[in-house]
Symmetry: C2
Subunit: 386 residues, 2 copies
């Protein structure tokens, strides 16, 4: 196990009607609130009106139309709003895109230089406006971590950033808000949770046993409850377990003490940067191909463990066969959630494979991945998904 710092100070209000805590939480920071949200689904659901009513004593400035895979231009727009309206606190109501965007808005509002600098170099983020979130989509875990992924549409660059200052002060997670999610979002969010866990699970750091056992538990949670949430969207137990698993998947519990780069996320970031693909969909379709590509004598034991502990497959003598069974189970599971599992199904052809492979290796430091990946490795993975 590697040395680590763990500091997740976000105050989580979890459960039905926890939004009643909102006025008290916001009042800790001030009266001028930037209300950040996406395309307006919170207006349809009534959540927008509820938030406005709860914040009737505040001066609320709307910051709407934050897109999926949030753009740098949105960050800049939000930061300008913060400065113009002397914002005290940002309230992000949405999924990972809204919260990610709000994190960098919070930092950019207090930064003299260009917002993109903060994406290129997370160390430049030394202060930020306080951020509170209300989650409406489980998957990214952004409500309980410091990370944010921002896309620069000018140079098609999608990159992660974030620092301790961008950790939300508080997050309200009410599983009933997830009842109205479209099936595709539920599936993509579930794949995102699993991918976060698997990126940390498949690492070469020895003896991070407790992290891996938590990882296996979170994976089993998604495997149990994602199908239930798809079949019965208002099943509280399913939504609650998925939501809490999502927060815990990427708050440091599965990754602290384990070194090295992630493998699938950097490749997926290229897909969404060039094709605006839904992040979780991209992760799901890349994952089995990546697993098959890196399965070898060094990694087979870990994949066999994964097959037994996560998928409950019976132990057999041929560990390569067992490993393949675990990978097949992963692929079948994603497919069963209704996720398109090839690039052609989502309209992506081979024309940018070379370019995306080069950028994934460069931006993702894939030489430090569980199994180091070269441009040719990434190309092979993309081709296997064609």
């Amino acid at each position: 196990m590697d040395n680590f710092k763990f500091h997740v100070s976000t105050e989580i209000f979890f459960g039905k009607d926890q939004i009643q805590n909102l006025p008290e939480v916001i009042s800790r920071y001030g009266k001028n609130v930037l209300l950040a949200y996406g395309s307006g689904s919170i207006k349809k659901s009534g959540l927008y009106d509820q938030v406005k009513a709860l914040l009737k004593d505040c001066v609320v400035t709307d910051f709407s139309d934050i897109e999926p895979n949030p753009h740098l231009t949105s960050v800049e727009r939000g930061a300008t709003l913060c400065r113009d309206h002397k914002i005290d606190v940002i309230l992000a109501v949405g999924g990972g895109s809204v919260i990610d965007c709000s994190k960098i808005v919070a930092a950019a509002a207090l930064y003299e230089g260009k917002a993109w600098d903060l994406v290129l170099d997370a160390a430049l983020i030394t202060k930020a406006l306080p951020l509170v979130s209300i989650l409406t989509l489980a998957g990214t875990g952004s409500e309980m971590n410091k990370g944010a992924v921002i896309t620069n549409t000018e140079n098609h660059m999608k990159k992660g950033t974030g620092n301790w200052a961008t950790l939300p002060k508080a997050s309200i997670i009410d599983p009933t808000y997830l009842y109205t999610l479209p099936a595709r979002q539920t599936a993509a969010g579930s794949a995102d949770i699993m991918s976060h866990v698997m990126e940390n699970y498949f690492k070469s750091t020895p003896d991070a046993f407790v992290q891996d056992k938590i990882a296996e538990g979170l994976l089993q949670t998604v495997i149990k409850y994602a199908p239930i949430a798809l079949k019965t969207p208002d099943d509280y137990a399913a939504r609650a377990n998925l939501a809490w698993a999502s927060s815990l998947a990427l708050n440091g519990l599965t990754g602290s003490g384990k070194g090295g780069s992630w493998s699938v996320h950097p490749i997926e970031h290229e897909l969404s940067a060039y094709y605006d693909l839904t992040h979780g969909i991209g992760l799901a379709l890349l994952t089995p191909a990546w697993m098959r590509h890196i399965l070898n004598v060094q990694t087979v034991d870990k994949f066999a463990e994964f097959a037994v502990n996560v998928w409950h497959l019976p132990v057999i003598g041929d560990k390569f066969k067992l490993a393949h069974q675990g990978i097949d189970a992963t692929e079948e599971f994603f497919r069963s959630l209704g996720i398109p599992m090839t690039l052609s199904e989502v309209g992506i052809d081979e024309s940018k494979f070379q370019l995306m492979a080069e950028r994934a290796v460069q931006l993702g430091a894939l030489q430090h991945a569980y199994v180091p990946l070269s441009v040719n490795d990434v190309l092979a993975i993309l081709k296997a998904c064609a």
Copy 2:
């Protein structure tokens, strides 16, 4: 799953030589430091000298001789030191007893009334001096939670308390500090971790699946590494996994979202209140008897799950038999750690059983336990351990 608030803001510095962060962490709060510790083992190990050297720019007041099952008189002594020396921050160096005592010292130093009031009513704890801890014994999880257990020797009352103000600001967890622990302490700490997890695991709240999967992972961690730490006290992987599992066992991950009282701790508190028994030893010896006592048609499925998921016992048709096999495995495991598994082995006779049973039910609200326990139930459990 029940509604919950999760707010564990303690900054954890985990790993070898993390003590180098101490001067910076302490400097956030001031220069007048109360250095709290126990019987002096930190002087033998050299840790005391290292801390003093690192805090050479501070004014350090020693608060020594905090006993296991820390006494109210120690809390009062510490609070007086804080007032007399205008203490800015408390540094607790030790295990759960030192940290627990320091938490209530931190609160009592800022409280006008009697320190015992803060034990009787945790809601009275509204502010406290900042507390930083350096862990030297894994088990209680006190380094990453707000709870503290204090014993009043006048009325033999041992009771838990704590509030958000008593959560440590930062904790340094260096697994190498555990290398010199006596075997009995390693065993007792391991049993303490497992008991915390099992108290939360065996609850009647439905659908807290993610919590239970994390619980199973933490139990498997202790089962794997406690024997290794006993055999090879300086095995880093074993000490690191036990230490991190210990913090996670009682920081809210396994218990948030699950209601009801704990079962074994209130009974054990009576044993230590009257006989000053090591907490983890008492928990271990009571646990199998408690499990057998509450095994019934309502609880058998949970115990069968425990047998399979935690002890990896093969599924069999007779679930009561399977449940008993899991309980037997638990007992055998504690015995294999060298823990005395009967009350007579630790010098406790039946003379106070009735008194202790009455107080356990009253102080522990055992009517709200997983299976509600009456005085007669507790008596039967104690007798089964005789």
